[in-house]
Amino acid sequence: MSTAVQHPAPAPQVVALDTTVVTSWKAPIAFAIFTLLAIALAVFAPQDGDTTFRLSTQSDVIQLPEITVPTMPTLWITIVLLALATAYSAMLVASKRRVPVWLVVVFAVLFMFGFLTWAASGAAIPVIGLLFGSLSLAVPLIYGSLAGVLGERVGVINIAIEGQLLAGAFTAAVVASITGQPILGLIAAMVAGMLVGMVLAAFAIKYFVDQVIVGVVLNVLVVGLTSFFFSQVLAPNAAALNTPPRFERLPIPVLSEIPIIGPVLFRQTLVVYLMYVAVALVYFGLFHTKWGLRLRAVGEHPQAADTVGIKVNRTRFWNVALAGAIAGLGGTFFTIGSGIAFNKEMTAGAGFIALAAVIFGQWDPIKATLAALLFGFASNLQNTLSVIGSPVPSEFMLMLPYVVTIFAVAGLVGKVRGPAAAGKPYIKS
């Protein structure tokens, strides 16, 4: 859509630009599919009874009442609302306007509400627990996606997020076990993630190796190293080397008493609070500071950046190292963040989910964070529903986040465009 391309013939091009909006029929179609899905649930698997939403925990100062709704009428009302949203989006597209983001959010929340009402019929949903767990599960994904965003914005594709998370988890467990100080484990994890990032940067920038290759290989290397040392060193000396202390929960005095938000957001561990800071800092830094401007310039057009005196390769190296440190910090969630001993391949593909969140979030730290939260929510939804008992086989619930992602990526996001120079080494001669 750059105006420079259209420079020779501006007038007819403007008309062409207006008509390109038509392509976003995807949103109404995706909405329609989800609405039909909800109707199918209501028609083919009706649930009798009531559904209760529990909005407070026992320890809250301000107690909210439980909300109990009759299952089927609520589901049908939700379906009507979903259908209205679908019709509205179709109307918008037909009149050549875009479907706004808030409509997508409203639709998603409505659909989730309807689905929860249906799935938890005859039981109570602990809303606080559901959201709290979602945030917890999203923590490593958010750190990982921040690392991915930074790396790609500066022009280095970071597939090694998985390796950085795992290295962080391993180092955090070992250092925290030896010293007994989780905070030292946290620092060690950042150093470990940074080292993986530096190896990635060195191979990608100094030796011009394909960044995807280095990333994939580093993942294998870190899995191999950590598993080797786990079997050979940690497992025989588990008491001394692999019994990490955990971070205590630190409720923030006033904020933690806000209904719903307080227990979910402000009764967390240091790792989570650092995450809030990291998201804010990366967002602010990337779009409102000189550092971020230079970083993005290097990722979009290194030659231009070089021309104005930015050291392209140095910028890339240190920012990839920084990204590695952030991912390493995220790795602490697995061990000292949860008080679990290190185990082989314990990140279980979180780095790849984080990578998906980066692309899903269109290389924007805030959107990537939201995508990571979506993954966290979907994973925790399964945990919650399997506890209260749901009519769906647990495998299908586990599948749900991934299916939703495919629909979302295909239906709502579509073709995404990353930083222009990501993946290309910059060679100055």
Binding site: D210, V212, V217, S227, L355, A410, G411, P425, K428, S429
Partner: protein
Amino acid sequence: MSDPRQPDAVGPTGSSKADLDADIAIEEPGAVSPETEGAEEDARATAGGAVAAQPTDVPPPSRWHSTLHQITTGNAIISVLAVLLALLVGAIMIAFTDERVQEASGYFFARPGDTFLAIWESVSGAYSALFQGSVYNFRRDDFISGIRPLTETLTFATPLIAGGLGVGLAFRVGMFNIGGRGQMLIAASVAGWLAFGFDLPWGIHMLVALLGGLIGGALWAGIAGALKARTGAHEVIVTIMLNYVAFYLVSWMLRTPGLLQAPGSSNPKTPAMKETAIFPALLGPQFNLHFGFILVVVATVIVWWILSRSSLGFRFRAVGENPNAARVAGINVPSMYIYAMLISGALLGLAGVSQVLGTVTTGFTAGIDAGIGFDAITVALLGRSTPWGIFIAGILFGAFKAGGFSMQAAEGVPIEIVLVVQSLIVLFIAAPPLVRTIFRLPDPASPKRRPVPNVTQEVKAK
């Protein structure tokens, strides 16, 4: 690994982005013949900032000189040295974590010889177990049982080669297929279901199960291809997500009676495959090597033919090099994505089928893929996305796998050391300048023969 003079020996044009086509620093400028454009680009990239040698400006050097030059700068020596380096790092890891070494190093200054002896014993013990587990076991009496490890290597290599071909083919079209796990699981499920659920005559049954598996894998990957072609959905996301979907789908089918679960059992495991569908053993019943290896050889030839001799392969490579240029040239880029993913999925499907019909015929669980879908990525990278390169890389990794198990059993060295060595090999091979610096080899683009232009440029920027 690959023949340096092979004109199409471009590196993996792998990407998590369609426009990422960095086959950089893979090929050696001194070794590749400079007729092809790809080779020139590689040379430009590898020369550390120098633009490609312009061969016409340089008088041809003497034959001796060029032969020596090729040996010291060529691909082969880099590959050999990379393997040596990786084994050296592995040796250091084995030595440092060995208990005997740690014990002896406690009194290192009193009797340093003990430490070195312990290091030698731990490392040589581990590596001779690796060799005896993967190539030839000297401790056996006769040749037949001595050569058994080599057939084990080929058995382990079979799915790795098939998977590597699938990932490599997608790389050549500029796509990154991380979905090997899901494609293998679906293919294995379809092939397994056909193999244990039906009664057909010998031979036909096997073919039906094989074809079913290939189609299953192809369609599963085809979802990602079709979504990329129709909606632009990124294939990396979709294939990762499909991995999980396939895993949970297969897990559910495995624990649901009437689908894949063995009748009368409560384990999430299928019944054994019927005799009529099992791949026949190639070398008799005492060896595990099965017909799947022949299929993989055939698949390698087919992929080679597709990529370098067919018009489809030409279009594939054109799209992989530059999708915009390919579109301008009249190639239907979206349908190339679909075809490539279908073929790639079928090849990964072959890996899955060879697992259920060849290697594990007593019924399978959701772990049947055994991480091969991800190992295949490394194999494809090591083989530089060329069919025969992948073939050799697959056999090398098969040897590591076969040997790794016997090393773990005999010496107690965890098999994960194999992952470390494998990944280091790929890393070193991908970075020839690093290996050259370590061993002080001459730079193929020696300063005398290389004009250094005073320009700044970005490699392959579009």
